[in-house]
Symmetry: none
Subunit: 215 residues, 4 copies
DNA sequence: AATGAATGAGGGTTCATTCAT
DNA sequence: AATGAATGAACCCTCATTCAT
């Protein structure tokens, strides 16, 4: 119990193949964040230090690459949420830590995933990873909410989207030093999340599921 | 007397040409916000209902188009700031109104400008328009700050970037109903902006000028 | 006898229209020589100081413009040949003068005409002008030949093509100072034309008619 | 020992890639001569029997293609000059052979290079190849000059330009049978080059270097 | 008659993806 | 399994030509 079983029908990769795969995901994550999800595939390959065809062997097309990168990032962020939860700090402090950690984990890289829901967002693996992430964040939020530190009128979807938006890189390669601002803005957001709510919010709280819905 | 004076170096456009020009700017503004500054020019033309070459007649290249759209948006947002200021409401309420109005004016369309500063951001016209915008927002913020409603540790650049980020649509055409959330997030941000500050911000307050700096 | 009658079915042009027409031809002749026959039509119009549509009113398409420029040049060169003939100098000296004069009259502008024979070269007006030119040059050559100064194994076509080639501007805008060499090369050619022939020529003498033949 | 040494910074091309490269150069050489340096790149690719992107893989842009074709032609013509020199025939006869051979090697393809000197003519490789060519031709000319067969008032630049001009095909696809005349005109030129000079030349003798000079 | 504006087609170049080694 | 090479489709931009004023 506890560890999720992994479908084992995928032939075990040779050690070097596995290393290549990881390098590619890593390079892609950085480049998606820095330059957007439309970086030339050849550039990703070059940065990963492999031939372009190797990239395609691992990820048959760009959609698949985006998909895998998103899963990777979701898993890491879920991990961060779990850590924050178990480190037993003050409830809001845990939430705060998580938010900044999510930024550092490049939560912005989820963007293409979310936005191209129809393409990859429906994939069962994604749904599952999303649910795990949602549960983890929910626990964090719930604890903060019940301790009276988090305003009650927001839900997981709000947090994820707002944080994602605030941490998205600007298109183009400008504002490299812009990263410095991100944590300021996150902090402003966090201050806005504290109870008691200082205003009434328009609209209604959103779950991840809501985000995936087609209109 | 009676005739409107026109800067004489710009020969008056024919009525239809002017209409085309405006349509193009309008289409581009929407599309920059929706899809980023790298939308195919031909698509912009199609959406504006003109031939591609007409677009190029009005804006010799993409840089110029971005430039003009940004100027247009800056002017409109400056106008909104001025209105909010003169409508004499409560100081923070004025700021609040402005922020939501800026979202509706597609402040996100400034994004390509900011991010490609080196290309168009240095243009004197842009700098000037930026300064006007900055002054207008500054007045709004200053009033709110001195009335003790706005936390003192943020500057114009913070506001502009945070609002821009929060209002950017996700890439792709997903989440059409996502717009509904934007005003929620803005409101959260505004709550975070209120005095007294609920936490200390990392980094330091940014002016527009800071954003334009190359690292 | 003497003056060729001109077909008068073309409505007399208004004075300003005539001036425009002449300006256009003049501009086109220069630009064909300088930049080749594929200069942008709009540039020709600009250089002529008229709107582009005016150019098209006078010359419905590029072919027509080339055609008219060629006729104009042919006439002027025919004039030069006639002058050289009647100025009564030494026979070879007359030929020499003519060759250099033809260069100055931009005989190179005939190039597009010759090379696109199928398009405009068959036009009766062109044929006629070509024949007049040929007759004029022939007289010059004949005189030089019978005075024993010109080698007998060349014909009008040889001269025209060789001179045209030697005076053609290099494509692109390079070698502006290249014009300086042209008269050197023409002179070398002329020295090669003198009797007695210093070698036997391959191939056979060509008339203008031969040039117009399709293979 | 035994293995051919290769400049190691140019990774050896695969056999098929090398064949493609050569086909492209060959096609481009023909087409530059026939249609000028502004032939559509796609046409060059088609004639070479490769996809357009393959062309761009080998030659990143048109400038590079022109550059490489010019180098190729210069080398071949230099070879012809060397052969003519070593074949030990009569000095002027050697020059004569060389001139006709240069025509057959498409010396006209150098034209775009010369004319766009600023773009590619300054490249050290080009300069070097040009100097080798110049030296080779110079040897030929010097031998003919000192044997009293070549007039002394011309230099390498004169010869190259004059021959290039005379061998350029007319633009367009007209006058296919025109090639037949080229060797006539070259022969006329050669007769003009013989000593004793039959007239005084205007201007002054030009080296290749002069041709590269910007005004 | 003259003009500024509009347009579709075409050429240069890049890139995702497939193929051959 | 990994790679360099090849390819067609797409995009930016220009230009000849037509249209509306």
């Amino acid at each position: 119990m506890g560890r999720t079983t992994v479908k084992s029908h995928e032939p075990r990769l040779r050690a070097d193949a596995l290393r290549n795969r990881e390098r590619i995901i890593s390079a892609a994550r950085e480049m998606f964040v820095e330059q957007g999800a439309d970086v030339p595939m050849d550039e990703v390959a070059r940065r990963a230090g492999v031939g372009n065809a190797t990239l395609y062997r691992h990820f048959p097309d760009r959609r698949e690459l985006i998909h895998r990168v998103a899963l990777h990032v979701m898993e890491r962020i879920t991990g961060q949420a779990d850590s924050a939860l178990t480190e037993g700090a003050d409830a809001f402090e845990a939430l705060r830590r998580f938010v900044h950690a999510a930024a550092d984990e490049r939560i912005g890289a989820l963007c293409p995933l979310i936005s191209q829901a129809g393409d990859t967002g429906d994939h069962p693996e994604t749904v599952e990873a999303g649910e795990r992430l949602e549960r983890a964040i929910n626990s964090l939020m719930e604890r903060a909410r019940s301790s009276g530190q988090l305003r009650p009128d927001i839900a997981v979807g709000d947090l994820i989207v707002a944080v994602t938006q605030l941490t998205r890189p600007l298109p183009g390669d400008g504002c490299a030093h812009f990263d410095g601002f991100v944590h300021r803005h996150l902090q402003l957001l966090l201050d806005g999340l504290r109870a008691p709510a200082r205003s009434e919010l328009p609209g209604s709280a959103a779950t991840l599921e809501d985000l995936r819905q087609r209109p």
